[in-house]
């Protein structure tokens, strides 16, 4: 079995080619640095099975960040390379191509985005390019699948040319210059509406108001979609489900099983948030409260990602993010973290230094609430008034800014400047957006449901053995004395380690005032990440930095919780 690795510059469409070749779905977007880890898939060629690996994008074979290190590692293992290049930007892409060819591995070149090259007035003579490089060259449009069959058919022809010897950098550019003069012709094109939008959104004067409008519109759209799904689809479904659940409850009769499956009945009725049964709260929280917002958030995010707006946003926020010890690219992990902290922390790989990655990961874990938790905050605090929701997010925003400023001071290391390619705007394809949203929803369901069940089970068990009372007693000085919350809130903080959404739900039966709820939900974000985020932070940062980050979180939780109590509740 051969190992075939997809290599290429960032944002040329390697992940789309990978999806086309293997049928496996991976997240692809329109910004450099979408793929930070490798994905493996299989493809059959004749009778032989091959392993296909999608590697992160890299400009050269000398890595400058963690994602590029992964790419280089994959390159080392490869038996055959499919070099994916951007046809609209051949000259620059050929640098990596030459470097790969110098390494004497069999290579086939896919000239992706062939349609876009044609539209922008670039014509490339494939035959001449094949002759110059002495490897097969296939024009492709991975998004529509054009040329992929041809690519598969010619993989066997991949080879490593004899005449290309290792050379130094300037010789490489000279050679590329010769090739480009020989094969490429560019005709001038007129300015289009797209150029105009691109220009307006990158100029500081117009860019900032546009960014503000875009973000407000996106938030509005997420809540609109979320609330619509809840009131017209998921809510009514559970109204239909209630008689069934009540039937099961009566059939089971009082006892342990009823406790576990249905939970406590409140005034003889099921309360989906407070009952804490596997068949009530255990399915209501993920499906009726969280899932609608997950669908809403990820469909809007997919449009954002595919349009190419994120790198522009990164440019606009660069100056501010430098104050936090990162550069503008840091906004991308933060954005992804708003959906789920795990991909957010992973996306920090595209940052160049350890300091930047540490700050990005810590700030996400400490102050970026994930959509599952947000949905619960909307659901629970929403009934008391929008003001309380704003209070939670305003506090978290302040925590983000202040922690960023502090971390930038105390963490040693460099924070290099931004160096980010701005892709052209592209119209997001409906099918691709839906597919991507569906992948992430499926991922949420696979991850969330088991942990939610585990959480509900744990709550029931802990109550049964009296652990809750005991733990509440131990943490009472902090929770009650310092944060001004009922001591039962300790359990919610414990469950928050498994699922933050469930933990927010657990705060409801404690009979807290709205302001106490604000304090508790804010602390639920700050004090500690959930187990998934914790695991990925451990993997990305290593044990020592993880301990540092955790200590910082605990400290911040103590300070912020105390201050909120002081300001919001009085003493």
């Amino acid at each position: 079995m051969k190992k075939i690795v997809l290599m290429g510059n960032p944002n040329v469409g390697k992940s789309v080619v990978f999806s086309r070749l293997t049928g496996a779905n991976v997240i692809a977007s329109n910004y450099p640095g979408t793929t930070v880890d490798f994905s493996k898939g299989r493809m059959c060629l004749g009778k032989e099975g091959h392993e296909i690996i999608d590697a992160p994008g890299t400009y050269s074979l000398e890595p400058s960040n963690k994602a590029e290190e992964v790419a280089l590692e994959m390159f080392g293992q490869a038996d055959l390379i499919i070099n994916v290049a951007d046809a609209t930007n051949l000259e620059r892409n050929l640098y990596l191509t030459l470097q790969i060819l110098e390494q004497k591995k069999p290579v086939i070149l896919a000239l992706n985005m062939w349609d876009e090259a044609r539209h922008t007035g670039i014509s490339i003579d494939i035959k001449k390019l094949e002759y110059d490089l002495q490897i097969p060259v296939v024009p492709t449009v991975a998004l529509s699948g054009e040329g992929i069959c041809d690519l598969i058919g010619r993989i066997d022809e991949a080879r490593s040319p004899e005449k290309i010897e290792p050379m130094n950098e300037s010789d490489r550019w000279i050679k590329i210059g010769e090739i480009i003069r020989n094969v490429q012709q560019v005709t001038h094109r007129h300015h289009t509406l797209r150029d105009w939008i691109s220009e307006a959104s990158i100029q500081p004067l117009t860019g900032f108001p546009i960014a503000l409008a875009v973000i407000v519109a996106a938030l509005w759209l997420v809540t609109l979609i979320g609330e619509t799904l809840i009131s017209y689809i998921f809510g009514p479904l559970f109204t239909l489900y209630t008689p069934i659940a009540m039937g099961i409850s009566t059939w089971l009769g009082p006892g342990f099983l009823q406790e576990l499956l249905i939970g406590k009945l409140i005034d003889g009725q099921i309360d989906y948030i407070q009952s804490m049964g596997l068949l009530t709260t255990g399915i209501y929280v993920p499906f009726a409260m969280v899932l609608p917002y997950i669908i809403a958030f990820y469909s809007v995010l997919a449009v954002f990602e595919d349009s190419g707006y994120l790198p522009r946003l990164a440019t606009l926020t660069d100056t501010i993010f430098h104050r936090f010890g990162m550069h503008g690219f840091g906004i991308i992990p933060v954005f992804l973290g708003l959906g789920c902290n795990v991909p957010g922390v992973l996306a920090a790989r595209s940052l160049e230094t350890k300091k930047q990655r540490f700050i990005a990961a810590t700030l996400i874990a400490i102050s970026v609430p994930c959509m599952a938790k947000n949905a619960m905050v909307f659901g629970i605090l929403g009934s008391y008034g929008t003001g309380y929701i704003i209070l939670v997010f305003a506090t978290l925003f302040l925590v983000f800014v202040i922690s960023g400023l502090i971390l930038n001071r105390i963490i040693k290391g460099d924070s290099p400047e931004i160096c980010l390619e701005i892709p052209p705007y592209r119209k997001p394809d409906t099918l691709t957006v839906l597919k991507k949203t569906w992948m992430r929803i499926r991922w949420f369901l696979q991850e969330a449901i088991p942990f939610l069940f585990l959480g509900v089970l744990l709550i029931n068990l802990l109550y049964a053995v009296g652990f809750v009372e005991w733990l509440g007693g131990i943490f009472a000085p902090v929770i009650q004395g310092w944060f001004g919350l009922p001591k039962e809130a300790t359990t919610a903080l414990l469950v928050g380690f498994l699922r933050k959404d469930l933990a927010v739900g657990m705060l409801l039966p404690l009979g807290m005032s709205p302001v106490q709820l604000v304090i508790a939900t804010t602390l639920l974000t700050i004090y500690f990440p959930c187990v998934g985020t914790f695991a990925v932070m451990f993997k990305e940062l290593g044990i020592r930095d993880m301990i540092k980050a955790t200590a910082f979180m605990a400290g911040t939780a103590l300070v912020v919780g105390g201050m909120m109590r002081f300001v919001l509740l009085g003493i």
């Binding site: 930007n89 990596l96 990158i202 990164a314 100056t319 400047e417 160096c419 701005i422």
Partner: protein
């Protein structure tokens, strides 16, 4: 070649040339000038004549398409010493201000 009259504190190895002063001193040939791309007016083009910096910096810029003899356009410049957006070969990219100050251009077109 140019006549340098001013030491630039941000990039000590490069000297800045002030046309007004040279004119006053009666030094001719004001338009033969080297200056960093950040001096370009927004929207204007110029040819890159030199990248000032070490091997790694030149390589990093080269890989993004910013190389000698290339025409570069200054798309946008952010206030408060913020980043600079440039365009080379029809591709826009954002680079930090300090990096941009090491990309030396010839006469604006």
């Amino acid at each position: 070649m140019g006549i340098y009259l001013w030491k630039n504190t941000r990039a000590p190895n490069r000297l800045i040339y002030i046309p007004a002063v040279t004119k006053l001193l009666g030094i001719p040939n004001v338009n033969i000038m080297e200056k960093p791309v950040t001096y370009l007016e927004t929207g204007k083009n110029a040819v890159i004549i030199r990248l000032e910096g070490g091997y790694l910096f030149r390589k990093k810029m080269g890989a993004m398409g910013i190389r000698e003899q290339k025409t570069i356009r200054l798309v946008a410049k952010y206030p408060f010493h913020g980043p600079v957006v440039v365009e080379v070969d029809g591709r826009e990219m954002t680079i930090g201000r300090r990096m941009a100050e090491h990309v030396i251009i010839g006469d604006p077109e």
